[in-house]
């Protein structure tokens, strides 16, 4: 009996592996097409018979993209603004999520509803009044203005998501630490924080990608070329005379790299699933 059951299980596993493989191909195909076009000379991209791998392999578009004006300035701006925004939003959201989950706080519920309503307002309708506000405090053309913008647009989701993660951690662990002499705040930082780390990383990846790919806000808030970020730089490939698709795809490929690196650095933490071990003791 046990034998047939495990055979069936193994056969099912092969089936699910096949499903996973199909899924991976579908997810990656558009990305592959972007990279493929980046290595292809321009005329080849729009040929009538598509080529599934770069026949006329060339690095030309990558070299050209990196040597374009403002690339290094914009890459630096992107890194500084996005990393600061992600660090800030995670700290602020973790504190807020703890406040609404671990305490009976008056006004916590209206606050949660309010920040969700804020998410419902289309950003195309918000961007101009936001520019006027930042301009009044001389925060346009300024890192701080852009960082604050990214923090506040990703904060609502981050707080809501972390609230779910914080709530799933049993309170007993913190209480035990407090019995052992830790302060309440100390218990949050030393016990709760590591336990919600998988949640922090997922929400961190979310904030990173949202801010990293934003074009709408940065295009309005930053006026000078050397203050822009990479999504704005991408538009330099489109001119009045047409679009340099090979260069654009090379630029997009370069832009995707930091996200992949960031993810590779943190992915072990997501995959390990730390809570399981911690709850056991």
């Amino acid at each position: 009996m046990a034998g047939t059951k495990s055979t069936r299980y193994r056969r099912a596993t092969w089936f699910w592996r096949a499903v996973a493989a199909v899924f991976v191909v579908i997810m990656v195909f558009p990305v592959y097409w972007m990279v493929n076009s980046a290595f292809e000379p321009n005329g080849q991209i729009t040929s009538l018979t598509p080529s599934f791998f770069p026949v006329h392999f060339t690095f030309h578009d990558f070299v050209d993209a990196v040597n374009r004006p403002w690339f290094w300035d914009d890459a630096r701006n992107s890194l500084v603004v996005v990393c600061s925004a992600v660090a800030l939003v995670l700290v602020v959201a973790f504190l807020a999520a703890t406040a609404v989950t671990r305490f009976r706080l008056r006004g916590a519920k209206p606050f949660l509803v309010l920040i969700l309503v804020v998410q419902m307002v289309p950003s195309t309708a918000l961007v101009i009044p936001l520019y006027l506000l930042l301009d009044r405090y001389h925060l346009t053309d300024n890192y701080l203005g852009l960082i604050l913008t990214y923090v506040s647009i990703t904060l609502p989701f981050t707080i809501w998501a972390l609230r779910g993660f914080v709530r799933a951690v049993p309170v007993d662990l913190e209480e035990a630490a407090m019995v052992d002499g830790a302060s309440r705040f100390g218990a949050f930082m030393r016990i709760l924080f590591p336990l919600v780390l998988p949640g922090l990383i997922t929400t961190g990846v979310f904030s990173f990608i949202t801010a990293w790919n934003d074009f709408l806000y940065v295009n309005v808030i930053m006026q000078q070329n050397y203050h822009q970020t990479l999504p704005v730089w991408l538009f330099s490939f489109s001119t009045n005379t047409g679009t340099d698709y090979g260069g654009l795809m090379a630029g997009c490929t370069i832009m995707s790299l930091p996200v992949v690196v960031f993810f590779l650095l943190v992915q072990r933490r997501i995959v390990t699933g730390m809570t399981a071990g911690a709850v056991k003791g």
């Binding site: 972007m34 671990r102 920040i115 289309p122 936001l130 604050l148 993660f165 995707s256 590779l264």
Partner: protein
């Protein structure tokens, strides 16, 4: 979607200090009580304050301004001359009585229902698949999803429009290769077919976020719990419904609500894929209509009114779940 009742999770989610096991009797008597209750509100309030200041400070004014604009007649002339013309409910009357409103509303409803349904179905399915399979495949899956997620919207929109190009698109090429009559098939000939391509692209872009979040939610389920249930003879389906789902439901409902919000306001993908011809192709969900009124027609007041109406529609659509979510955090003691 299944209705999500409020989950009372008194045991796991109860706040510190309300613990039944806490040593309440050993606390000092009356004098310190008032001071303690103030201090008890002080720490949580201090923890919440930075978030409150940021959201209210940065987004409060723009939203107020948007609502004010929706009651004004604000075109290019008024904008340049700084001449404010209050117009009462005129913008709202015009929005609600226009034929485009009914069309946009219907399109948005069908479009959002399809996108959110497919996204949540595939996202949860993929997360379960990751749980079921080994580490190597799991890493490959998360990396593939991350690559798709990390692709800049401008890049993915261009690539997707290439894939579905009439003459040299890869999709037509491959479908024709299978013997189907797809040579020179125009995917953007009808509103429905255009919506199909846009839906595919939105779901493709949204699945990674949902799947990865659901997967990290699944890691919160203590393995002991599901193992114990399995030992007691529960089938995997029952374990999922009775053990796993109650724990991850708050995050599932949150992702559903957020997907509804994001897909309702979707603009970039529609605008890019239709090459700015959204109105000609009759692909005008509310998010696109708002943009057309505000920026293409330069009637900012009208555009703002569309935005405010959209927020109220979203509130009506998700209010039940938002209440359930807020309640599920309530302290039951």
């Amino acid at each position: 979607m299944a209705r999500a009742p409020a989950v009372t999770r008194a045991e796991v989610g109860r706040p510190i200090g309300t613990a039944p096991a806490s040593s309440a009797s050993s606390r000092p008597a009356r004098p310190g009580r008032w001071r303690r209750s103030v201090r008890r509100q002080l720490l949580p309030f201090a923890l919440l304050l930075p978030a409150l200041v940021l959201v209210a400070g940065v987004l409060g004014y723009p939203i107020g301004q948007l609502v004010a604009t929706s009651f004004q007649q604000l075109g290019l002339f008024q904008l340049i001359s700084h001449h404010v013309v209050w117009d009462g409910l005129a913008n709202y009357r015009q929005v609600l009585s226009s034929g485009q409103f009914g069309r946009s509303l219907l399109q948005t409803l069908l479009f959002v229902a399809t996108c959110v349904g497919l996204t949540m179905l595939f996202g949860t399915g993929v997360a379960l698949l990751m749980k079921r399979l080994g580490k190597v495949i799991r890493t490959a899956m998360s990396l593939a999803m991350l690559l798709a997620w990390a692709m800049p919207t401008s890049a993915s929109s261009i690539v997707w429009s290439w894939l579905f190009e009439t003459e040299w698109g890869v999709v037509n090429y491959m479908l024709s290769g299978l013997g189907l009559h797809f040579t020179n098939h125009n995917w953007f000939a009808s509103s429905l077919s255009a919506y199909g391509v846009i839906t595919a692209m939105i779901v493709w872009g949204a699945v990674p976020f949902v799947a990865l979040t659901m997967y990290s939610a699944f890691t919160l389920v203590p393995p002991d719990l599901s193992e114990a249930a399995a030992v007691d003879g529960a089938t995997p389906a029952v374990v999922f419904r009775r053990v796993t789902m109650p724990i991850v439901r708050p995050i599932f409902v949150l992702l559903t609500v957020l997907s509804i919000i994001w897909d309702t306001n979707v603009f970039n993908q529609v605008w890019f894929l239709t090459g700015g011809r959204a109105q000609v192709l009759n692909v005008v969900p509310l998010g696109v209509w708002q943009y057309i009124e505000a920026f293409s027609s330069q009637q900012y007041g009208l555009g703002a009114a569309v935005a405010v109406v959209t927020v109220f529609l979203l509130l009506a659509a998700t209010g039940y779940y938002i209440r359930a979510m807020v309640r599920s955090g309530e302290v039951a003691s």
